[in-house]
């Protein structure tokens, strides 16, 4: 397909867009209300500015506060701090979101005409496994975003350019992996900001989609979907044994001996069969691909293995049901259920594996977003932070 044909295809595709021949009355009502609000708020701001000037009051920087009041439940002993990003800033708080401290402050636009506001953000494991550092993104009007590594007080340790969303910490906390060129090359960076290794992913190996590399538990390889291992020694990337004929997401047990993965097809039907795309399986097996066992007979999202190795949390029902499976018995427990338009995602476990951190995005991800925690037995459901869909508990677990 040449450029002209490609443009024609795009125009043809765009014909599927809804038609907007006349303005919806609701839109006009909303727009008029907006204009009224603009006028009203302009007046209000002017009054406020004058008032503040007179009183000599300095504007307070309000940090996000926990949405629910603290409950008297005892704090798990070694459960550490919660790191998260809200409104372009990075915060470190107590495990339940209380006492937030802003450690990175997103600043106003500074890159010239057309540049968006500079902001910090994090997705994935923000904390290094040893709890000494945090890794997050800084986006301003640069050619590529910047990876920032700081201590828990926000003091910058190092920074370097990178791409993608997830910054992946090595299990020994000494390196991070990020895309150098998305989908093509991955850089391994030390805490001095120097790139130690540049890994090239052969074309067509990674699943199509917006994915980032993660470390395998032994720290000697990275993995990209679906189950492609990229050795750090530069040897040829390969499909992991369990990944043959599967497609989905995976999580390893803390010792690396077992793997849990999702498939789009039932376990017995590894050949893709018509009409079974909406089924799928959640499978636990040995890392070498043997002893694979279906533990949940439907498609699931983003399984996370507990640091204690005995539980795996995941969401099912297109992200509306939060569940946990007892690995030893295979018993699956429903912990929380939301309506059909919500998206729930498991983010993390407490070090003892007894509490789960997850996010809730309402209205297909467009509505309010928040972080929640629930005990592994389904009790103690509580909202921790509003305004973000991603957070990371400091686990201080040697196996994480």
């Amino acid at each position: 397909m040449n450029e002209t044909e490609f443009r024609h295809q795009l125009f043809d595709l765009a014909k599927d867009a809804p038609s907007g021949s006349s303005a919806p009355p609701a839109l006009l009502r909303q727009a008029r209300r907006r204009v009224v609000l603009t006028i009203a708020s302009s007046v209000a701001i002017a009054v406020l500015v004058v008032g503040m000037g007179i009183a000599g009051v300095r504007a307070l920087q309000v940090a996000p506060t926990p949405a629910d009041p603290p409950t008297p439940t005892p704090t798990p002993g070694s459960l550490g701090a919660l790191a998260y990003g809200v409104d372009g800033d990075i915060y470190v708080a107590d495990w339940d979101g209380s006492n937030p401290v802003r450690i990175a402050d997103g600043r106003p636009p500074n890159g010239g005409p057309g540049c968006g506001p500079a902001q910090y953000g994090g997705e994935g494991s923000i904390w290094s496994p040893d709890g000494r550092y945090l890794a997050y993104w800084y986006n301003s009007c640069q050619v590529v975003p910047t990876v920032m590594i700081s201590d828990p007080d926000g003091n910058l340790v190092t920074s370097f350019p990178g791409e993608g969303w997830l910054i992946s910490w090595s299990p020994d906390s000494t390196r991070v992996a990020v895309w150098v060129r998305w989908g093509e090359t991955i850089g391994i960076y030390g805490l001095d900001g120097e790139r130690q290794t540049l890994l090239t992913l052969p074309p067509g190996m990674m699943a199509p989609g917006d994915y980032d590399p993660v470390w395998l538990p032994d720290g000697a390889s990275l993995m990209v979907p679906y189950g492609v291992e990229i050795p750090l020694d530069g040897s040829t990337p390969r499909k992991l044994p369990w990944a043959d004929a599967h497609e989905g997401e995976a999580t390893y047990s803390p010792d690396g001996s077992r793997v849990a993965y999702t498939t789009r097809t039932p376990l017995e039907g590894l050949v893709l069969l018509r009409g079974q795309h909406q089924g799928g399986s959640f499978v636990v097996g040995a890392a070498d691909g043997s002893h694979a066992q279906e533990v949940f007979g439907a498609r699931v999202w983003k399984p996370v293995w507990s640091p204690t190795g005995d539980r795996i949390a995941f969401t099912s029902g297109n992200g509306t049901e939060l569940r946990v499976v007892d690995v030893a018995t295979g018993t699956v427990t429903l912990l929380a259920e939301k309506d059909g338009s919500d998206i729930l995602l498991v983010l993390d476990f407490s070090p003892e594996g007894d509490r789960i951190l997850f996010s809730r995005a309402e209205d297909q991800g467009v509505g309010p977003i928040s972080l929640w925690s629930v005990n592994a037995d389904g009790s103690g459901l509580r909202r921790l932070v509003t305004g973000t869909a991603w957070g990371d508990w400091l686990s201080l677990s040697p196996t994480r």
Binding site: D12, V143, W165
Partner: protein
């Protein structure tokens, strides 16, 4: 106060006129960025409301289209706020109906390949090849460096070359 009421009434009528003139184009852009008709409508509606809030301060009414386009791009980019949410949303959209990849039409294959691109690459490609903007205009609209736009387009087209045989 009377003057303000008059301004609002005039802008209500102006907005209806602007909507009739720009909605189809805005909806097509929004649809190519999101891949979903209902979501495209929501984003365009939101964009019109936001732009309406600024009509009082719009120095160049002729620039309405550019202003609206920029608002739609920003709304599409910030819609999911997190890559994970975008991915899940797209998975929900592509759950049904089950179709064998060999049975897909070229345009459906292109739609899926386009939606699988990271949002930055998808936006840059749509603005360059659908909206027919220059690299500099695309960079300005996306709030990125022109070099970054060139890179986004190049990599996105590289992926489309592999997946659907686009040779640009």
């Amino acid at each position: 106060m009377g003057a303000e009421v008059e301004t609002i009434r005039i802008e209500g009528s102006l907005l209806a006129d602007l909507y009739a003139r720009h909605a189809d184009e805005a909806l097509r852009l929004s649809y190519l960025l999101t891949g979903d008709g209902a979501l495209a409508e929501d984003l365009v509606q939101d964009a019109f409301v936001r732009v309406a809030g600024r009509l009082l301060h719009l120095r160049d009414p002729g620039g309405f289209h550019a202003y609206l386009r920029k608002t739609i791009v920003n709304l599409a980019r910030s819609h999911y706020r997190r890559r994970a949410l975008e991915r899940r949303y797209l998975e929900r959209q592509t759950e049904a109906p089950p179709i064998d990849p060999d049975d897909l039409s070229d345009r459906e294959r292109l739609r899926r390949a386009l939606m699988a691109l990271p949002i930055g690459q998808r936006t840059a490609i749509v603005l360059r090849y659908f909206e027919d903007l220059s690299e500099a205009q695309t960079a300005d609209l996306m709030g990125r460096h022109p070099g970054a736009v060139k890179s986004l387009v190049s990599r996105g087209m590289g992926t489309l070359r592999t997946t659907v045989g686009v040779d640009v």
